[in-house]
């Protein structure tokens, strides 16, 4: 699923209006793997690259896509309870943008919408059709919730140019970063339109004991449950030993 989405995004890039052959951007990450270990409290990755001449650069980081159900609370008998919900299809689990200038200055709205640059341009679609006005409210709320959770970046990051060809930026990932295969897209922008693009993969993965625990919990839930019970029982028995005399 994730993989197919990734390929689809690549396909969109390939089919996008063919840029002038000369225009080019190359970019890479300081690391292609974010390892979530026991001490993980968030990290950052450096994105760097070069363009073939003056122009602006925009980078978009997307996590693997999922269907997301968002609830709106309503007051029922004096208590705030989840009252109504909308499920959106293919919502990226992580989304961040960085640009060399404010987005509205360097990109035309149509180009931003075409390439999904900026959280408002994600084009969230509900799983089943609903009242457009209501769907739009829920979509805006979803972006707000994800921004407050830190997994949709609230403000675009800053891409810094060293001279007029080399650029770099730092992409921050919070402690609750979702795992999976990410895509980092780098766009070269001239005259308010995208003229070149490059996509780099990034993997966020649990490593070590945490990965093993999560893996067993989902693949062998019965074994995991039994082990969890046994370890707890052993720990309880061990704990009672020093106090046996009383």
């Amino acid at each position: 699923m994730t993989c197919r989405r990734g390929r689809l995004a690549l396909l969109v890039l390939l089919l996008a209006p063919v840029p002038a052959p000369a225009a080019e951007v190359v970019a890479d990450l300081s690391s292609h793997l974010i390892a979530i270990t026991t001490g993980f409290t968030g990290t950052s990755v450096v994105l760097f690259g070069a363009t073939d001449g003056p122009g602006d650069v925009v980078a978009v980081v997307r996590g693997p896509e999922h269907d997301v159900r968002i609830w709106r609370k309503g007051k029922i008998a004096g208590i705030w309870a989840n009252a109504e919900s909308v499920t959106f299809a293919n919502v990226p689990s992580f989304y961040a943008v960085a640009a060399s200038r404010p987005l509205d200055q360097l990109l035309s709205p149509s180009a931003a919408a075409l390439y999904g640059i900026g959280a408002v341009n994600l084009g969230l679609r509900p799983l089943s059709e609903g009242v457009p006005d209501r769907v739009r409210r829920f979509a805006e709320a979803l972006i707000g919730v994800e921004q407050r959770a830190g997994i949709f970046a609230a403000a675009p990051g800053k891409i810094v140019f060293l001279g007029d060809r080399l650029f770099r930026t730092t992409i921050g990932f919070p402690a609750n970063v979702p795992t999976g295969s990410y895509l980092v897209q780098v766009f070269l922008v001239r005259d308010r339109d995208v003229v070149s693009a490059q996509t780099t993969p990034l993997v966020v993965s649990k490593i070590g004991i945490d990965a093993a625990v999560f893996d067993i919990a989902h693949r062998q839930p019965l074994v995991y449950g039994a082990i969890a019970v046994l370890i707890a029982a052993m720990a309880g028995w061990l704990a009672s030993l020093p106090f046996r005399s009383r």
Partner: protein, 306 residues
């Protein structure tokens, strides 16, 4: 020092978790109850998703009750026949409870159900304990009040399947412990608690068991009910965070031992009054969260990213 909890998928300070386990363990040692009814809401308050808090507390409970049963068993204060009769109901109750839990999770209402259960139970429990302890304190100032009758015959003694529980010196219908076990098993699955604070008074006042036998026997059946809940939650909802449970357990067993020693130095009714205040405070905080206008009207529950 932060540690990443693999199932809860959040980073939490190790010392906060150890201190939480120790604090709850200390209270459970002082007051002689399991402490799960405080642990789960406290975990929710520090940001652990409610379903993970419930399932991991059940896991922690297995260890805590093994430790407790061994201590009581060495003094010969465990009625195994009664424990296993309670367990029959307990297993059935926990299966129904986990099924209900999964159902509410699918409806997007599990966080609400858990909070509501806690508000009602903690509110009632805190109120009753508060009233009882104040009454006891007042009665000591005015000595000479009438004693209650030791044994009263009610409809419960007319039930079929009468069974003899030698160790508890009882001859009662087996349906009573089975029904009690069922109710507590249900609560254990939905709320992540052992249910000691319901089980203990019910065993003393409803079944009429000797007080000395009650904590050990109650804990014995809690081991198996909690183990059953842990395995069922792990299997159906993938919400048991073993790392979280172990950290709580380490803090909990140490805290409980100190709590037990500390508890013997204090007066019972004053302790119960303090516990009542604490329980009511937690209930009030949870009620406030349910009734105040939420800061964010829209929510994405942890299990809705499909």
């Amino acid at each position: 020092m932060d540690i990443y909890l693999p199932i809860a998928e959040i980073s939490q300070d190790v010392f906060v978790l150890l201190a939480l386990g120790a604090g709850v363990g200390f209270l459970s040692g002082v007051f002689g109850v399991g402490g799960g009814f405080l642990l789960t809401p406290l975990l929710i308050l520090i940001g652990v998703p409610a379903p993970v808090a419930v399932a991991s507390s059940a896991n922690q409970l297995v260890g805590a009750s093994v430790s407790g049963v061994l201590a009581h068993w060495r003094r010969g204060h465990v009625d195994f026949k009664m424990g296993f009769t309670l367990l029959l109901g307990g297993i059935a109750g926990s299966i129904v409870g986990v099924w209900l839990f999964t159902l509410f999770a699918r409806l997007g209402q599990i966080e609400l159900v858990i909070s509501l259960c806690y508000v009602v139970l903690l509110g009632v429990l805190g109120f009753m304990m508060g009233v009882e302890s104040v009454r006891t304190i007042l009665r000591q100032r005015r000595p000479g009040t009438a004693r209650r009758r030791l044994h009263r015959h009610t409809w419960m003694h007319g039930l079929p399947l009468k069974t003899r529980f030698r160790k508890s010196q009882l001859y009662i219908s087996a349906l009573l412990p089975v029904g009690l076990g069922f109710a507590v098993g249900l609560l254990s699955a939905v709320m992540g608690i052992g249910g000691g604070f319901i089980m203990v008074p019910a065993m003393i006042y409803t079944l009429g068991m000797p007080t000395a036998m009650v904590p050990g026997t109650s804990l014995l059946q809690i081991i198996f009910v909690a183990a059953n809940v842990t395995i069922l939650q792990a299997f159906t909802n993938h919400t048991v965070d073993a790392v979280l449970a172990m950290l709580l357990l380490v803090g909990g067993v140490l805290g409980a031992q100190f709590g037990t020693r500390f508890g013997t130095r204090l007066r019972g009714e004053q302790l119960r009054f303090l516990l009542a205040l604490l329980v009511l405070a937690v209930a009030a905080k949870l009620t406030q969260d349910l009734t105040l206008h939420p800061a964010d009207l829209y929510v994405i529950p942890p299990d809705s990213r499909l």
